[in-house]
């Protein structure tokens, strides 16, 4: 038998050797998007591949991950483990995940297939191709895993339809639509670097660890299985940034602009994760603020310190994200509670014990700004009159989040920015979102803003029931406040709590 090849040689044979130089078509026709963004790459062979993963090893290890994942999903189903989660409120975090995150995995699959075709370098092509397959695997495993919950809880029935229509899901949807309609270099900076390398650890590490803590072994397993691919994706993200920066000094200002833009867009998207961590996990692992400090301030800080040698600085407005860490989850959850009647999951007010935890984790802000409001809402619930806000909120033209964020240095004043473009006024939640718009107004004037669309009659009708029907939401079940929801009633029956409460009464 021939001597076993070493890793470098094997990698070269099974990736670099797959490329060829075109002989009868000009390079520009084969890779038509290489010039349009202004990024200059002279030599694609300088691309380094830190993970020297070839297809044979890829299939071997991915198959092993799949076997492990599906054996746990089977065990979860056979054990009726949906009954062993801490509390049925937890399942709402999974509903949000299925409608807001899983469709992004599919978008990522499409995006990496697209950029893999556009990049001339074979190292980048192979990495993008594997990532494209990974992302398709992620969306499939997530659908399979969560389908178990669909048998027992409301809100899981039409997630893909909801992703395209429900108001707050335009936030994640527009994030990917924005990246997919950019050029290949911006797409990969947006998704591989800014989102995957800098930001996704916030979702896949503390939140997934929290899923385990709350008894949801099915979710933690798909989460970690997906995130183990992310490690490769992050390496691709870091590599592509280094590669572009080393290729030509003219690339730096373009890349810095993308880092600024996509950090801020990704950070705004993570507002959903902040409330998942602080409000939607009945047993909590760490607060949003602690996670932001660990994964962005410390780790992101180390990353940008490392990139300083290329002239890259921290993303613009990162300081605002640190100032907002004390209030992001509370402000976000407050808005979801206000508009819970139009959300695709149940919302609730924290219990007294949970308010104590929030108060301990957020000593500067929780008792002062949020506890009084949340106590007021909880009292209304206890009187059987849960609060819903009958108005429609104004949305930020860029991130599409309702304009509820407060001024960086004043948590009592809503942050409001505006720009004028071709005689029309556009509104923003922050300097970060205003900057993004001002740099590319022609792109963002086209934003599909749910509130505008409702008012224009494009969402099924002018009344809430008509809009809910257009969303495929079942009024009174999918959108109810948790204490008034069928999920809660069922949960009490399954856990044998009805009899206990009757005895107590």
């Amino acid at each position: 038998m021939a001597k076993k090849l070493n890793l470098r040689d094997k990698y070269a044979l099974m990736t670099r050797d797959l490329s060829w130089d075109p002989s009868y078509q000009p390079f520009e026709k084969l890779f038509p998007q290489m010039e349009m963004e202004g990024i200059k790459i002279d030599d694609w062979s300088k691309w380094e591949d830190p993970f020297r993963l070839t297809m044979d090893a890829y299939w071997k290890y991915q198959a092993e991950k799949e076997r492990k994942l599906y054996s746990i999903i089977d065990a979860f189903a056979q054990n009726n483990a949906h009954l062993n989660v801490t509390d049925a409120r937890y399942v709402n975090a999974i509903k949000l995940f299925l409608t807001g995150v899983s469709p992004l995995e599919y978008q990522a699959h499409r995006g990496f297939a697209m950029v893999g075709r556009q990049f001339p370098g074979v190292g980048a092509q192979v990495a993008c191709q594997m990532q494209s397959v990974d992302e398709l695997r992620h969306v499939q495993t997530q659908i399979h895993t969560m389908s178990h919950y669909n048998k027992y809880f409301n809100g899981f029935h039409d997630w893909s339809h909801m992703h395209d229509r429900v108001w707050y899901l335009s936030v994640p949807k527009s994030f990917f639509d924005d990246a997919m309609t950019a050029g290949p270099f911006e797409f990969i900076t947006a998704i591989s670097f800014s989102f995957e390398y800098v930001l996704t650890n916030l979702l896949f590490m503390p939140f997934m660890s929290g899923a385990a803590y709350n008894g949801d072994m099915a979710t933690v397993t798909f989460g970690f299985s997906a995130q183990s691919d992310e490690s490769r994706h992050m390496t691709l993200g870091l590599e592509v940034i280094k590669f572009m920066l080393e290729a030509h000094p003219d690339n730096l200002p373009i890349i810095q602009g993308w880092i600024d833009k996509w950090f801020w867009r990704g950070y705004r998207l993570l507002s959903l994760v902040s409330m998942m961590m602080d409000y939607m996990l009945p047993k909590r692992v760490m607060s949003w603020k602690e996670a932001w400090d660990m994964y962005f301030v410390q780790n992101g800080g180390a990353l940008f310190e490392d990139l300083a040698r290329y002239g890259v600085r921290m993303p613009k407005h990162w300081e605002v994200s640190v100032k907002e860490a004390d209030r992001l989850s509370h402000e976000t959850w407050n808005v979801f509670y206000n508009y819970g009647h139009a959300a695709a999951f149940n919302s609730w007010m924290p219990s007294e014990e949970e308010m104590e935890w929030l108060s301990a984790k957020y000593p500067e802000t929780f008792d002062k700004y949020y506890r009084p409001r949340f106590t007021f809402f909880r009292n209304l619930e206890e009187q059987g009159k849960p609060f819903s806000n009958p108005t429609l909120p104004m949305l930020c033209q860029t991130c599409q989040v309702p304009m509820f964020y407060t001024e960086p240095d004043d948590p009592t004043t809503v942050c409001f920015r505006a720009s004028e473009y071709k005689g029309d006024h556009y509104h923003f939640c922050s300097d970060g979102c205003k900057d993004i718009f001002d740099n590319e107004p022609e792109k963002y004037v086209q934003s599909w803003l749910p509130v505008h669309q409702i008012y224009q009659g494009n969402c099924g009708g002018a009344t809430v029931p008509e809009v809910l029907e257009w969303y495929h939401l079942v009024d009174g079940a999918d959108n109810a406040k948790y204490p008034f929801s069928p999920d809660y009633e069922n949960w009490k029956k399954w856990k044998g709590q009805v009899a206990k409460e009757d005895d107590a009464a």
Binding site: L53, S209, Y213, F224, S231, T235, A302
Partner: protein
């Protein structure tokens, strides 16, 4: 806290246990934190996972690429060879 921190996070399961122990043995400067279902290892500058140490601990041959089965996340510049998996930041 030093600025050149790197980290590796692994699932807290039987497959990863030998890898975690090998990292602890070969990286005495690293800090190991346990979270539900996950172990995160932080260190200034460098974390190395050595094939030899893992093999000694698990009692069988081990290919550093097997780390993909247990990985949760990483931060740092990756260098992978047949004998080592390295994360580093030299600034």
């Amino acid at each position: 806290m030093p600025k050149n921190m790197v980290y590796i996070a692994l699932q807290n399961n039987e497959d990863a246990r030998g890898i975690i122990e090998a990292i602890e043995r070969d990286n005495p400067h690293a800090t190991v934190s346990h979270f539900p279902a996950m172990v995160k290892i932080d260190a200034p500058g460098r974390i190395v996972v050595k094939r030899e140490t893992v093999e000694e601990l698990i009692g069988r041959e081990w290919d550093p690429q097997e780390i993909h089965v247990s990985l949760v996340s990483i931060s740092g510049n990756v260098d992978e060879t047949e004998d080592e998996f390295i994360l580093e930041r030299n600034n």
